[in-house]
């Protein structure tokens, strides 16, 4: 049987009270009651654009049609096993509590730092310790990079922690030296870093587009990928991979087809302006091809599919994609219907199914 690794599976506590054993009493009331911190829909902060789903609570019994939209995360490893891993033939899965990354958009730093460690301990106890096929993502509060690095080193003591998860919405591009302690800790522990779509324009994040605020969810969903472009460009230019040569960064929910033409432009400009970043001694596309990976569920299907795959020949390595389902979100990709798995050139499939993930997450090989 062919190995199949799912690099993007979401988990979440069932009741808010599940996290209390991991959280100091000081923070209990804020965790349970605090507005702008945590609701039934997630760790939610008011967006500035109009969301047509938002006026109606997503799990409102009066709106049965919307209930599927509410499903965002698996609550326990048994359900995950029965409903997803087993029937889909998944041999290993990287799980994350992706909305927990929202804590990095709060304006303070102590509370989010505490919540981060609570989420990590909860994930370790409730998922990693119960199923050897599951590999975890460490939540951090980026407001305090030194303590975030400390938390990465602590949480990474569990051998099934495989990556650190950051959100694409941020106060600064991730190449900034401010974030370096996080990458240093991840690199040191043999973890990948995921940058997941979400939190753009929420809390203290910059607007979801560099041109300002979108007026609609449509606009936001399309244009917010530009925040990830800025992170990728910044991390390569500022030398994150010169400093941490074994670090892999995985983009989730970002698509990928935009990348090759973007790198054409990046390479062109490096030729002229390399003196600004003298530590960058090779074409940016070489660095991107070596250090960046993308989850397949964010990829937009195109017709004809060959045109999609043809783009990747221009990126050195051409090994950018890993299978990712985004389970259990309503728009998740099943392996048999996944555009990427269905249409990939045959000789790329082993990489997309499992080899890419094994290379990105050294902790999956044990």
């Amino acid at each position: 049987m062919n190995a199949l690794i799912d690099t993007d599976v979401h988990v979440r506590w069932e009741q808010d009270t599940d996290l209390l054993p991991y959280l100091d009493k000081t923070w209990h009331s804020r965790w349970l009651l605090g507005r702008g911190g945590h609701t039934a829909q997630g760790l939610f902060i008011e967006p500035k654009f109009y969301d047509p789903d938002d006026p109606h609570p997503r799990n409102s019994p009066g709106l049965p049609g919307l209930t599927t939209v509410n499903i965002q995360a698996a609550a326990n490893p048994a359900t995950l096993d029965q409903e997803w891993l087993e029937p889909q033939g998944i041999t290993a899965a990287v799980i994350s509590c992706y909305d927990a990354a929202l804590i990095s958009t709060y304006a303070d730093s102590d509370y989010p730092t505490e919540v981060a460690q609570a989420v990590n301990r909860w994930m370790t106890d409730h998922f990693l310790s119960k199923d050897k096929r599951l590999f975890g993502s460490i939540t951090v509060a980026t407001q305090d990079p030194a303590r975030a690095a400390q938390e990465i080193r602590r949480a990474a003591q569990h051998p099934q922690m495989a990556q650190v998860v950051l959100s694409s919405g941020a106060r600064m591009p991730y190449g900034h030296k401010y974030y370096r302690p996080l990458f240093q800790a991840a690199h040191e522990c043999g973890l990948a870093v995921a940058i997941a779509a979400g939190t753009e324009g929420l809390g203290t994040s910059n607007p979801p587009t560099p041109s300002g605020w979108p007026g609609t969810v449509t606009e936001m969903r399309v244009a917010r990928d530009t925040t990830f472009l800025a992170h990728l460009t910044s991390m390569i230019t500022e030398g994150v991979f010169v400093e941490y040569p074994d670090l892999t960064v995985c983009g989730f929910g970002m698509g990928a087809a935009w990348l090759p033409p973007y790198l054409w432009r990046f390479d062109k400009n490096w030729k002229a302006l390399r003196s600004e970043c003298p530590w960058l001694r090779e074409l940016p596309s070489e660095v991107a091809g070596r250090h960046f990976r993308f989850g397949s569920s964010g990829v937009t299907p195109v017709e004809p599919a060959d045109e999609f795959w043809r783009l990747f020949h221009s990126v050195p390595g051409s090994r950018l994609l890993m299978h990712a389902s985004d389970y259990p979100r309503w728009d998740m990709d099943q392996p048999e219907t996944s555009f990427v798995l269905k249409t990939a050139p045959e000789d790329w499939k082993p990489w997309i199914r499992s080899e890419g993930a094994l290379a990105a997450y050294p902790r999956l090989i044990r």
Binding site: S275, P278, W279
Partner: protein
């Protein structure tokens, strides 16, 4: 002025009296079918073809500057080749004035020419490779 001469294995051109090209000065001259730039950098003379291999801009109208040499560590800057890096005025590609080599790809070169001073006059020469 600008007299040109050609022998069996080289052709050369007189740029003019050396004192007309003081330190820091440059002059664009026609050399056969090619336009070239002649530079005086701290008393040393350099000649390079006035054509950027990227999109054909007049390279020798670009700024003459230095560059940060490729370094091993993030945040490490080492300024070098002050006055000997020619940046194209169009897209800022950098070329080493002495060798004509681009700084981002050693295989990419702009033609350079030998210079010499004879009896107070500056000459630029090009070796002619015999045709087979």
């Amino acid at each position: 002025m600008n007299s040109q001469a050609m022998t069996a294995n080289k052709k050369e051109i007189c740029v003019g009296p050396v004192e007309e090209l003081p330190e820091g000065a440059r002059r664009i001259v026609q050399f056969g079918t090619a336009s070239i730039g002649v530079f005086n950098v701290k008393g040393e003379f350099y000649a390079i073809r006035n054509f950027c291999p990227h999109e054909g801009a007049e390279l020798c109208l670009g700024v003459l500057t230095g560059t940060n040499k490729p370094t091993d560590r993030c945040g490490e800057y080492q300024w070098e080749r002050e006055g000997k890096v020619l940046r194209c005025p169009w897209h800022a590609w950098e070329f080493d004035l002495e060798t004509g080599t681009s700084l981002f790809d050693s295989k990419l070169r702009v033609k350079t020419y030998q210079t010499s001073i004879r009896q107070g006059e500056l000459w630029v020469e090009e070796k002619i490779t015999p045709k087979r």
